[in-house]
């Protein structure tokens, strides 16, 4: 199935597990927990990203007998992102728009080459990528821009509908043209 496993509509699901260098797990944890969210955060500079998450697993849950415990020798940094388009442009965007932040967490991982060597960075992500078995999206062909614009447009339509109540046909048509002239 190749890359189609990671796609649904125009959305892509990226899941990356990278082993953290011995003794550096707490530092990585501090770094990722300090990443600002919202407009001030690095992910807001990636306009194709709907959702993203960074977290660590340093042990696997033991659920009791008859499970044979799996004890990890490394902690892993998990990066997941749901974004518009293909993986390659997304990785380019990571290297161009949030290189310092990306390096701040991945530089504590084994074998990380840095975003400065973009080709090596892409190979690293590909090597550590976990393929998605099943991916579901509620609005699979809507980009982040589509979602944001539509949410704002819905508010404008609502305001217009209230303001236009009681207008005669000619005034309604004129106000509509003025308000939604750019909508095609």
């Amino acid at each position: 199935m190749g890359e189609s496993r990671n796609r649904f509509g125009t959305a892509y699901a990226l899941t990356v597990f990278t082993p953290i260098l011995p003794g550096q797990t707490d530092e990585v944890r501090s770094i990722i927990e300090a990443v600002p969210r919202g407009e001030a955060g690095p992910f807001a500079r990636l306009e194709q990203v709907h959702f993203t998450r960074l977290q660590i697993f340093d042990q696997l849950v033991y659920q009791g007998a008859p499970q044979k415990p799996d004890r990890l020798k490394s902690a892993y940094l998990v990066f997941t992102a749901s974004f518009d388009g293909a993986l390659d442009p997304f990785l380019d965007a990571l290297c161009e728009r949030i290189p310092a932040e990306a390096d701040s967490w991945w530089s504590h991982c084994v074998g990380y080459p840095g975003t400065a060597d973009r080709a090596a960075f892409k190979r690293y992500i590909q090597h550590n990528k976990v393929h998605t078995s099943l991916f579901g999206v509620a609005y699979p062909t809507a980009s982040v821009a589509d979602v944001r614009e539509s949410l704002a447009l819905r508010e404008r339509v609502l305001d217009f509908a209230v303001a236009a109540q009681g207008l005669d046909a000619a005034a309604l048509q004129e106000r509509f043209r003025q308000t939604f002239a750019e909508t095609r």
Partner: protein, 206 residues
């Protein structure tokens, strides 16, 4: 990896539960589970997920709850090895990585799954080890609390928009575009009739 904040004695859907750092942004929550699967069940799960991906009925079934934005499953047989100083990890079991981004607190989310589609839950996770097949939901919540991956950071590009709001906004946009495209050349009375038809069609989304 265990949940650090919410406890099983918090009432369902309670807003008193403190937000879990790294798990929420605005009204959105991320739930991540990484749990072992019985080896013999893995091929069945892979086939089921293949059907889930390629058959529209299955896709609609997966997304039947209008509070899920994005959801993913990945069957993980081995962990990446990058050479020294990493020591290779060899797993005794395949693991199922699950991540869902949805509206509201996760206890409500689990309630919906436990009571509405218990068969699906048992099918996907029920072949895991020590899995408490729902219903009831409370043992499942405890199991999730023990298996959920916490901490880190979580980002949403539109943290205050519910799935329903997004779907409604897209429907309004599509309706408006149609109205604009059809409005050219209409006289005022004909336009008013089209506009009122548009409002009727989208009023459920406003």
């Amino acid at each position: 990896m265990a949940v650090r904040v919410e406890t099983a004695d918090v009432p369902n859907g309670s807003t008193n539960a403190a937000p879990v750092p790294g798990n929420s942004h605005g009204r959105h929550t991320a739930l991540t589970l990484f749990s072992p699967i019985r080896k013999r069940w893995t091929p069945v799960l892979r086939v089921a997920m293949w059907f889930g991906k390629w058959t529209p009925v299955a896709q609609n079934h997966i997304l039947q709850f209008n509070f899920i934005h994005f959801v993913r499953w990945a069957v993980v047989r081995k962990l990446p090895y990058n050479g020294p100083p990493q020591e290779r990890d060899v797993l005794n079991y395949p693991y199922l990585f699950f991540e869902s981004n949805f509206d509201g607190p996760w206890r409500q989310y689990i309630d919906a799954f436990a009571y509405c589609i218990p068969g699906d839950i048992r099918f996907v996770w029920g072949r895991g080890i020590a899995f408490p097949g729902p219903p009831p939901a409370e043992p499942l919540k405890r199991w999730i609390a023990e298996n959920s991956m916490e901490g880190g950071t979580f980002y949403s590009a539109y943290p205050e928009a519910s799935t329903r709001a997004v779907l409604s906004a897209l429907a309004v946009r599509d309706g408006l575009r149609k109205l604009v495209a059809n409005a050219d050349g209409l006289d005022a009375d004909a336009f008013k009739a089209r506009y009122e038809q548009f409002l009727t069609e989208v009023q459920v989304h406003l």
